[in-house]
């Protein structure tokens, strides 16, 4: 499939940038004329991935969070949210619903479940000490 548009942004891992990331990605995706529900799905998934990078990836330090977005001519949106933080020891365990490494902070452990529910495909690659890369895809049907 041919790439029709592409963008890349990176920002500091501070909570204020969570809403910036949601708005930036939805503004990019809107050119495919998605329904409001689909746009809400994308915003929610982006919010989860970026929050994970800020809360877990850079849990005791600050760094840059990167989002790459690609649109393909079949209406596919591909998002890659990555960080160069502490990484995840056990990705399979981290993706289990309600699993959280920070229960004392009232983290719900639902981040990856939300991403998997709201996007068509989610893939997580992580290396302890090097960072995490979350790739998500969603087919956008024009509204």
């Amino acid at each position: 499939m041919k790439i029709t548009n592409q963008m890349e942004i990176s920002f500091l891992s501070i909570p204020e940038n969570e809403s910036f990331a949601r708005v930036a990605v939805s503004a990019f995706a809107v050119q495919l004329n998605p329904t409001l529900d689909v746009l809400a799905d994308i915003k929610t998934a982006v919010s989860e991935a970026v929050t994970n990078a800020i809360v877990h990836g850079y849990c005791d330090c600050m760094g840059m969070v990167k989002i790459e977005a690609i649109l393909k001519d079949n209406g596919m949106l591909r998002l890659v949210v990555s960080d160069e933080g502490c990484g995840i020891e056990n990705v399979e365990e981290a993706m289990q619903p309600f699993f959280t490494s920070q229960p004392e902070k009232e983290r719900s452990g639902m981040g990856f479940s939300v991403m998997q529910t709201f996007m068509d495909q989610v893939e997580v690659m992580s290396e302890p000490g090097k960072g995490t890369r979350v790739t998500m895809e969603k087919k956008i049907l024009a509204g």
């Binding site: 909570p15 204020e16 969570e18 809403s19 949601r22 529900d37 809400a40 915003k43 929610t44 919010s47 989860e48 929050t51 800020i54 809360v55 902070k105 009232e106 983290r107 719900s108 452990g109 639902m110 981040g111 479940s113 939300v114 529910t117 709201f118």
Partner: protein
């Protein structure tokens, strides 16, 4: 965020976005109110809440536990579609009443 006290019930009018960024200040405000000995029940009105992610689930569940420990009830109302999807996905609809 506006709040209204009706006898033993606190009605909280959430607004804007409930994410990890806003969670801490909302949590602090609600906890301060729950400590009020008169408050037993809590209603979360989400009419003006435009967005919520799983950080919001943590905030609501944490307050639900405190209200339950006081022998009270927690209810939510007026969720938009996005908020309701996240709410249901977490299974909160099975433990928290929706009005």
């Amino acid at each position: 965020m506006q709040m209204e006290k009706q006898n033993q019930t606190l009605i909280v009018y959430l607004d804007g976005e409930l994410d990890h960024c806003s969670a801490q200040s909302i949590r602090r405000l609600l906890d301060g109110c729950i400590k009020d000995g008169e408050i037993k029940n809590m209603v979360l009105d989400m009419q003006e809440l435009t967005f919520m992610d799983s950080s919001g689930i943590g905030v609501i569940l944490g307050r639900y536990k405190q209200i339950k420990d006081k022998g009270g009830r927690m209810m939510v109302r007026n969720m938009n579609r996005q908020v309701e999807r996240v709410f249901r996905l977490s299974g909160m609809n099975q433990i928290i009443e929706t009005m």
